[in-house]
């Protein structure tokens, strides 16, 4: 029963707590300063010793006031953290709900792509018709193209180029001699044909 405290001693501890506190090293670490073994902090641990000396004349808190301020700030800090966590949770919930809301809105909205669908179906039909073409028809078409008189086409192209007239300088600078040959032949033939008629 030696460990049991008398009512008077309990009363002493409640109303004069500073009387029983131990000396705590004064550092800037708030957690090192805090002792929860029944002791109350006596110093403003957020202010360095030098700063405290400078401010000694301006503010003069007692040990109790400082401790209560610290405890209050700690509890307030906890509330702020809690509020922050709650706001983050709310934000996450809103983000999570957003796709669901978006999907609901999309399903509620009537969207039609009729012109595009029609155009695509027409293009598909054309493509299908093209695919249905007989291979022999394609071959015949290719044959017709190949049967074209290449020489005549080249001649036409040459005369189109020289529609405005052929200069001697142009001819003298042509690297491919077959072009002047073709031009001379065509013009000589035209000259001879005009005399014969």
């Amino acid at each position: 029963m030696a460990d049991l405290l008398s009512i008077s001693s309990i009363r002493e501890r409640i109303f004069n707590p500073t009387k029983h506190e131990k000396t705590v090293a004064r550092t800037s670490n708030p957690f090192a300063q805090t002792s929860f073994k029944g002791n109350v902090l006596t110093a403003d641990v957020f202010v360095s010793e030098n700063a405290k000396e400078k401010q000694a004349n301006a503010i003069n808190f007692t040990g109790k006031l400082k401790a209560s301020a610290l405890v209050g700030s700690i509890s307030d800090f906890g509330n702020k953290i809690k509020a922050g966590i709650e706001s983050a949770v709310n934000f996450a919930k809103r983000i999570a709900e957003y796709p669901i809301n978006f999907w609901n809105k999309l399903s509620e909205t009537e969207v039609t792509f009729e012109p595009a669908i029609k155009a695509m179906s027409k293009a598909g039909e054309k493509f299908g018709e093209a695919l249905k073409m007989d291979a022999s028809v394609v071959g015949a078409k290719a044959g017709e193209v190949l049967k074209m008189d290449v020489g005549a086409k080249v001649g036409e192209a040459l005369h189109t180029i020289f529609d405005n007239g052929i200069s001697a300088k142009q001819i003298s600078k042509m690297e491919d001699i077959s072009i002047p040959r073709q031009l001379l032949m065509d013009n000589v033939q035209a000259w001879e044909a005009s005399l014969a008629s």
Binding site: S167, I177, P180, W191
Partner: protein, 123 residues
């Protein structure tokens, strides 16, 4: 009546081939120009071949029967001779004329070459 544009085109093509550096231009002129039925075309072609002043081009108008100085058309032959006489550097033409006079199988061609050679010596 021949179109003036065609005449101009033929003249410009032949003149262009006369200036052309490619030796194949001689064969183009020989194949198409000197074998034409039109005297004017043969005349223009012969002049172009002489102006090139190359052994191959001069040989065409000097040694071939029916072409250049040996053309059936007097106008074409006279025009070719006149062009030969107008050459600044006649050395190559004289060398070919001498070779033709000495070695050609056709007497008419040899006689024509001899006459032109004499004219060139006097000019």
């Amino acid at each position: 009546m021949v179109d003036k544009k065609i005449v101009k085109n033929v003249k410009n093509i032949i003149d262009g081939l006369a200036m052309h550096q490619n030796p194949e231009s001689v064969s183009v002129l020989e194949d198409i120009g000197t074998n034409s039925k039109v005297d004017e075309i043969r005349e223009m072609t012969a002049k172009a071949l002489v102006q090139k002043n190359m052994p191959e081009s001069l040989r065409v108008v000097i040694t071939n029967k029916g072409k250049g100085i040996n053309d059936m058309s007097t106008g074409v032959a006279m025009c070719t001779i006149n062009e030969l006489l107008s050459l600044e550097d006649k050395a190559e033409a004289i060398r070919i004329l001498e070779d033709t006079v000495e070695n050609h199988s056709d007497e008419e061609v040899r006689d024509n070459a001899r006459s032109i050679k004499a004219l060139m010596a006097l000019s």
